[in-house]
Subunit: 299 residues, 6 copies
């Protein structure tokens, strides 16, 4: 064998061996992946996310995907010629909009099932209605009715445990029912967080369109690798966290406070970000973890 | 207690007792229900079908619902302003139409889940993509391409057995994938029949918009209660069966030939037709059964 | 179809649908039925009780029958020409009487097994000796020896759980053993109550020869439909309850206090009283329930 | 320790060690014991049989006892002052006699349960009615009706497998039902043989009142230790076997022909005959075995 | 049969019946046997121990053997010409000695497997390294390094429970690993005691070269049959216990204090001492038991 | 992130993704690894083999290691000063040599357990004696007695299935017993092959000291990547295969002929050869496969 190709295959081996302790550590643990943002639009990224999650499944993890509908919902609302109504700058989800939202989310859901099945792994696409997974109550915006937007009040994880036991990869879209069994749209980040808590997930990973959390949002060089819950709270109080990151970070803190071991904010624009975070010595993005965890992960 | 009300409750008791041998006979048996036609449009009928299937589940049967999209698909194709293309009088299911069809079928699917969950039974809505349930190949109409219309080539019933074992009521919409994992629409009757065969169902019931099979289609007094497979074949050969009934009857024959014990063509326009057929001494509609079954069912 | 027969089958359907929430509510719950009185003598009533219990079994409940020997024991004691001895007005159960009592109870026991088996359900007849189900100690009447009459000191429910798990309908006759493994007769009401407590039954139903509990025993129009434990205790203290009803009501209170959800005193002279109580909107007889249950059952 | 007591305990050890290969060989195997004759009358022998069977259970065998009613039935028929009717010298089992027979058999059955329970092992007493264990048809004597005497047509061993799985020692009395669910008395030897076949027993042991099979019935020194099926058939053909031994030997041959490995005719008048046969090097009584078994058991 | 041989087989039966309550009492209980001393040298004794343990296994107990290396280790150290180094009178277990010790212990281990397998029982020989069974830390003698001699810090009983569940007889040699996964020798008595505690054994039996514990070590007539923990402690405090018995007795006390029900010090020089202790009315050796056990065992 | 490090982590991801189809393909399949040669001597190689097998275990394969004793046996035979006797150029394995061989093999066995345990995976070291895994008969060399060298006659894989089910990594040393339970040494290649057949392994991999099979043994450029069984037989017939490769290749052919899907001859001198063969697109060494497999593996 030539020296060069010999070196090359040695490099390959070392990557696989590097993954060994992580595979061992997370074996049979549940990992909830919130899938959204650019990674849902770009076909290459889409494929890379599905490959990553499928690999996690095959090496013994128990991944659950929770996804949103991205920009597809708006697109279809337009297609049927509906006029959106706005309240406090938020679009009102009336019954007709909810109907379209559910259709679009189902379509996205089944397209992910399709991609996982094509890689030879058994997937099943469900919504929060199936098996009564997500119970909600109506959510108001400053006291005003914004339609069928739901706040999760209860998660019944039986269906997820059943599907994991039967070796399926569950893919969940964030639709739920209230006590009267009406349909509601749910924020996908909230759904992922509530599910991670209910199934006692080891990890919760958000695929986002940013690199991670910055100490100074205006200075890309201040990306934070690891953040304890108390430090995260301090950053929020100091007003360093703003925009779309604030609710996401609150979700992360909530998850950690409720038994999830570690939450990751990953840059979904990097192919295979999930795999790289989990299987290599150099993590990417920002990891949020409990105050008591003194030994950091990638050491 | 007054005599009249006493008589009334005695009548109630006798109805329940009448159901006893049927409950006993079909206990833990799989029953596939093809749900379609008027019963999908009228709200009262819809409710009665769901109540029936839920009752079957609760008394120990293992029902599986297979449904179509009814007239909803056409409605939504119109809503987004698409111009249908016709081939041999059949609408071509191009990629855009398929996308809408899948969205509509998913919406219907989840609305059925919702109704079953509201009655306190765990339901799960899946399509033929989930768990690789339905594998198809492209179907041609007289050699012409009619788009993404699939013919079932293989049923992988693992997902259904898993869900039944975990005590769910599976609700299936007829969408499948070919070997390249493309999405195809499938005739709901065909899907119900293929699934009934694959899970070795005890019964397959079609909810239709007719009373049953007639000896003379023009004479409503010639409704046939029970029909052996060989008699059904004779009727077909004699040209007595026409229109939409022909493929349905062929499906019935095919199901019986492949191990399903009995197939029912029921009048879905009668509330609780399913319950009445299964639990009372006087069946309704037409039952198709194997030639060897010498003792008729409702005797 | 004629209008009249159409109406008739619609009525049938509505009876079945009316049963749905009750089937759902008690699914997989244990129901102990104390079978005695007229319902053990009249052949028609006997058949109706067995049909009811068999139906309960088939729709997913887990019934257990506990029965006495009725007047058969006295009849057989007479047949063999034995002279009964009385103490405090109670017949003394000497060894010879006990021998006959056990034989008669076994005969009744197997005749019930026979009837259930004839309806196609697996039954098994046991006594409190089998699997050490009922442990007793000698009972005295005002300090006087009344022979082999036992008071239950311990219930070992393993045998019942094993039989229910293996899908049998257990039929129990009230005979037990003391620490020296001698045979004792046990009051059937006491046995039913003790068993209901030990298996944590959802319901305990007594088939009796009265309509239920009356507010004024002399006025048949004062039948009480539902009675909380504290109200029952008040009635007893007020001296409104007398005769054979007093120990029965005390048994009911004891059962509720020990975890049984609801106890029913039913009129066993009405055919299918059990079915009507459980599956229809209008209960019959008197239901005793805990004080905390604020929502009544048949509402 | 004194030499004498030392020798004594060494002897004890050697008895236990001698049992080792037999325990090993029959571990988890089913052994059907037909219990009858003197061993049912003498209290000491009764106790010894129950101790033996209980020991077999404890060391890992799966014994099933099948017993008759001995002379108790005749005694009780007399007690109630019934006049027996005879046909071909056989007492006719009319309905009244059958009733008493069932009562007596049940009494015997429960007394055996009692003795096993007293030794700390879980027993359950059943008849051929329970779980539909023994199906029979009416038996005629030279074409004449002799009443409710049944010939076994089918054994449904589910109940026995269920009880063995749940670690009970089943004790069976030979009563069965015909297709109309009428009660019949069954010859206990026949019942034991049919059950041994149905459960695929390793051994079937008859406790009798003779030493075993003799080559010459008139010469006690011609007791046969082991007998192959073909040799047994030859003895029968040669007319060497007579009286009550003929049907018993035919039963043995039938059992061996149907998969039971070995049948034993033991002298039930010897205390612990069962234990001695199974656990010691020197068998007692006559063993019947298949022709192909070339290596004898106690060598 | 002759009278003499009849008496003989009756005696055999009585020995087996005598064993019945003990078999019943310890059925499915774990018994840890520390095997050492003369019983490992004499071939006859060796065979008797293995027969005993195999019999225990066959009659439903769950024995675990823990053994040392006896004098074999010294023999092999000599064979390879190594010069032993002594510290405080103890031989230092340097790396080379440890290597030989592990080899010898493995050889002994497999020879025991061999003997058990020859008796038809499935055995598996493991060391404390397998499945991480025994974790140790370095032990010092008066602060001085004596090499690879380990003190048990943690027992991981998973491997033993797995093997018992799969019906193997585990045979364990006392070698363990420290946190750095280095190999250490462990005192076999300590290993047996730690394992008995970790698996919650019912009994722990030491095969020794003495008759038991003496009240006065110099007076063989003062052998103690049963000893409560508090009495044992008193004896130690009073200085009555010396030599090799002191650590052994401390181990016994420690085991009882940690949940083992009874510990036996048996005279391994008596053939079948284990069997005789467990299965006969007259125990041998000394039994140590908790203070609360008021009823003695062999009564 | 810098461009260079970005490229680097992308490369890492692509290696992991490259492994995906292989992980999927061999998930839950058994892989027998014959571990020997240089890979047993060099500490780095030893570590790499153990890492590889551990990784296989963690990602869902079921590896079994079979190892020999390498040059350690000869070394220890020398250490104790034994004079080897030779027959036909083969060392005679007399009883004393066998004793040392077993000790050395056990030592090697436990050292491998130790390394696997250190990587956090549960290992268990057994020999062919445990659970009666390997039954042998005496092997002769040209009719001459060469001592305790055994030829495998029967494999009882129960112990391996039990250990795999309980999630252990079994490590087997090639020692077995004959019908008299004497100890024999077995060729490790033969043992690996027999075990692979008995457990129906998907793969059998030999770690050797050569690159693979050559078309022309004298020309290193003629290394064969894939070889069908018939082609392998042809090479043997043509005399192209010689030396130590001949029996190994015969073993490979035998394994394929008996149900093993693929056998690999790998160069154990390359670190991580096992991982590279299984997880990367470019296999190394020679793969032997059945004639019917038309599609090659690494395509």
């Amino acid at each position: 064998m030539e020296e060069k190709s010999m070196q090359e295959i040695m490099d390959k081996a070392s990557v696989l061996i590097e993954a060994l302790p992580y595979i061992q550590r997370f074996n049979r643990k549940i990992i909830v992946v919130k899938y959204g943002g650019s990674a849902m639009v770009d076909e290459e990224l889409k494929k890379s996310v599905i490959q990553d999650v499928t690999l996690l499944k095959l090496v013994g993890f128990k991944p659950i995907i929770v996804h949103g509908g991205g920009k597809e919902i708006s697109k279809w609302v337009g297609k049927v010629g509906m006029e959106p109504e706005f309240i406090n700058g938020l679009r009102k989800t009336d019954a007709a909009t909810m109907e379209i939202a559910e259709m679009v989310l189902s379509k996205v859901n089944k397209s992910l099932v399709q991609m996982v099945e094509a890689l030879g792994v058994n997937a099943i696409g469900i919504s929060g209605k199936d098996g009564g997974l997500l119970k909600v109550e109506k959510k108001y915006s400053n006291g005003q009715d914004i339609g069928f937007v739901g706040e999760i009040t209860e998660v019944n994880p039986k269906i997820l445990h059943d599907l994991l036991e039967k070796d399926f990869l569950p893919i969940v879209c964030p639709v739920g029912m209230d006590d009267e069994f009406n349909t509601y749209n749910i924020n996908a980040d909230d759904a992922a967080c509530a599910i991670a808590r209910a199934v006692n997930a080891e990890k919760l990973a958000f695929l986002t369109d940013i690199e991670g959390v910055y100490l100074d949002p205006d200075d890309k060089s201040t990306l934070i690798s690891e953040l304890t819950v108390s430090k995260a709270k301090a950053l929020i109080e100091a007003g360093n966290i703003g925009g779309g990151m604030l609710p996401k970070l609150n979700n992360c803190i909530d998850a950690i406070d409720n038994g999830v071991s570690r939450v990751h904010i990953l840059d979904g624009r990097i192919a295979h970000c999930l795999l790289l975070e989990i299987f290599t010595n150099k993590g990417i993005g920002t990891a949020i973890l409990g105050d008591k965890e003194t030994k950091f992960y990638h050491e």
